[in-house]
Symmetry: C2
Subunit: 502 residues, 2 copies
Amino acid sequence: MYSIITHLYKVAKAGTLAILQIILRRGLGQKAKKMLLLCLMKDIKNILAEASVGSAITAKGWVRTKRETKNAIFIELNDGSSFNGLQCVFDAHGLSKENAAALSRSNTGAALSVSGTLIDSPASGQAVELKADSVTVIGECPADSYPLQKKAHSLEFLREIAHLRPRTNTIGAAARMRDEMAYAVHSFFHERGFRYIHTPIITASDCEGAGEMFQVTNLDLDALVKSGQPADYAKDFFGKKAYLSVSGQLNVECYALALGKVYTFGPTFRAENSNTTRHLAEFWMIEPEFSFAELPDNMALAEEFIKYLFGWAMERCGEDLAFFDKRVQPGLIAMLEEVKNKKFAHMSYTDAVKELEKKSSSFEFKPYWGCDLQSEHERYLTESVIGGPVIVTDYPKELKAFYMRLNEDGKTVRAMDVLVPRIGEIIGGSEREYRYDVLLENIKAKGLDPEPYWWYLELRKFGSAPHSGFGLGFERLLRYVTGLENIRDVIPFPRAVKQAEF
Amino acid sequence: MYSIITHLYKVAKAGTLAILQIILRRGLGQKAKKMLLLCLMKDIKNILAEASVGSAITAKGWVRTKRETKNAIFIELNDGSSFNGLQCVFDAHGLSKENAAALSRSNTGAALSVSGTLIDSPASGQAVELKADSVTVIGECPADSYPLQKKAHSLEFLREIAHLRPRTNTIGAAARMRDEMAYAVHSFFHERGFRYIHTPIITASDCEGAGEMFQVTNLDLDALVKSGQPADYAKDFFGKKAYLSVSGQLNVECYALALGKVYTFGPTFRAENSNTTRHLAEFWMIEPEFSFAELPDNMALAEEFIKYLFGWAMERCGEDLAFFDKRVQPGLIAMLEEVKNKKFAHMSYTDAVKELEKKSSSFEFKPYWGCDLQSEHERYLTESVIGGPVIVTDYPKELKAFYMRLNEDGKTVRAMDVLVPRIGEIIGGSEREYRYDVLLENIKAKGLDPEPYWWYLELRKFGSAPHSGFGLGFERLLRYVTGLENIRDVIPFPRAVKQAEF
């Protein structure tokens, strides 16, 4: 039986519902009929998209709203597959006793199975609705204790019920867009021959994030305290002190110099004591890295990437994006459209500072050559000077990491920051220093011990080649495409200072 | 200039190399010419696939082998984009001084840029080769210190140079297959409307992995020891004791009961002191979870998933798979083909034990109803009893986790393990207990404190519904599709007991 079901299930998924219904009408045993009915169950997203009026349908989902008029009872059933739910309409007059009893238990949040016939909807905003014949309550939802009622809840409140909040319009839409954007990331790189590399999460080198890294241990801390002796990391799980990685870049460079074009997309960690709307202790980063690629290649890739992602959002996240545009960030779609269509401007750090100096007095932090660009500077450059996305390049070496390629001037490095209106920096990257001697010099000049970098240095000893890459914080991207202000609303279960619930 | 380059780059990527070459032949400045030449640079994979004989080509990559005959010098250039490299042939007689000097420095591992014309190859196994006009050494590779020489190296040795090993045939192929399989995972779920959910890595509940979880902290352990006081986790970063997650399942269930169909794919951690070829401290897990789905739906999904992944490997990883079939695991492709084409058998645990008892004496561990199936039992079931993949269901509740749905017999749960020849269990899953009272009972029966599960329990209070899911260890899958025995060879930088190098 399973094989038939599996096969029919596939067929049903492909949209040929009608065939199944013919089969169903033929004389079949009760058990077979029940199983075939299961096959007829489609996501509400598909039911709405196909709009095959006249079809017998069973939909399962959760009650978003229930309202009654004199003649009808309306239930909006949502199964999370799309923003919009399926309107289920019951004739108030001909209700069976069973249906009446079930409807009385169908509170907001209850899980239902509703069967009926799909008809053209007289209501605006929906092509079809379900003329319901029968309803079964799968899981009740007590109105007196369910925290999500019809009324709008604050995002702050929703964070306290992170296990239930994806059932709301806002968080549900954010989760669907997160899924779409993640798939867009993989598709972009896959289409271009970039290989996905899982760089390690646990690392024994505290290369980049000195002081802001989480320690990972399986030492018994109570026993450690009792011993009165300093921790002996030779006895820890990894035989040395271990941390959570802040970036996969150094590791993925090994693969760029072997497979050519690669990227990482995984969680990274920072023990930063910042309780803001922009910081998380655990967040996901995308880091492409490619060989035989210099700064202009890197800039071109970053521009293409952003445009691809925004294009994907506009093409595939219509309903969710429309919601955000309407309710969260008016003008959102127009802004994405603009970034997607505009050629990204290019500007050196030196030229950028010259522009900023013209408006020096209007900034909280006075700009000067050598200063780290603040958010207010970045936004002024992209919003006022350029009026669109801009890639700022060639920063003073003192401002940037040791691995960036030193320019011929000896003062600047081949770094790039991609700035976009409303948030400023969205991408940071660079061409990497691929010359052994210069890299070693840079490491020392930053006051770092070269020893832990032995393998990173060796990449420059054996078949070194120019290579470049950048990092895009996935949640920063999501804040941009959803318009949501607080980073904790674009990740399912946010981790931050004093926050690791659920 | 950048915009033209960017545009041409895209065009070149799309394969219309010829147009670029026409443009190139027209009178252009030196700088423009140089930049356009960069555009002409394609991955060796594409060069080999397009095989456009007569084209002027510049290829960049690393020397795999160099050999000389009286009349010619052959360099196999590999850029990691594919298993096969590009054969570059230099006329030994007409060598310019520059080319001769460059070739003398082109040791194994050196990064080169080689330009010339693509011609039909007289050699077998390749359609085209590059009649080389010029060669430049981008990065040398000193023969006396480079650890990767022409000869084959042991996989043990390669693990010690994890930063260089993706340059080898075996690890390069494994990395490309890992990339393809990851993309296949996302594509499978995306096509079926499953949403990708990033469940948290850091967790404050040690729900499942009691005793085998890594602790995450930013307490200063030296200061802690000096204080002589037990750790005060209220002062730790998260305000409580925190761990690395062993599974995203409990979290992703929240999303299944909101969005309907979801999955996780992320790193999970186990501080297990097992130094075997099958264990890692850090590994990637795939965990789908879907609502309104019972055990048969789960079984159908698992079968479809495995077949999809194996089909993808056979369709998209031809060269790499052929290498593994030839050099690592003879019969590999035939075995994947067989699993892909066979209907998965179904068998209850009770029936499985009956089968095992018939052969009781041949096992190291004597089977009996209630025993945990050992690897030898699983392999016997799939290899000898069934002769193909089999899904074993309905295990004794004592053997399985608290969240599995209790059957009507009160003794077994709706668990399933998918067994395949050669390795035994590849997938484990279940229908989840969706009834509040029964779940609470199960938690207590396992001796667990219900309090930390408050939110998990609440999912059963508010609109609960039958739902199911399973877990597939990504590295276990990769061991299966590559034939590689040791799990440390299918992940870029393995983390295990006493091992966190690089």
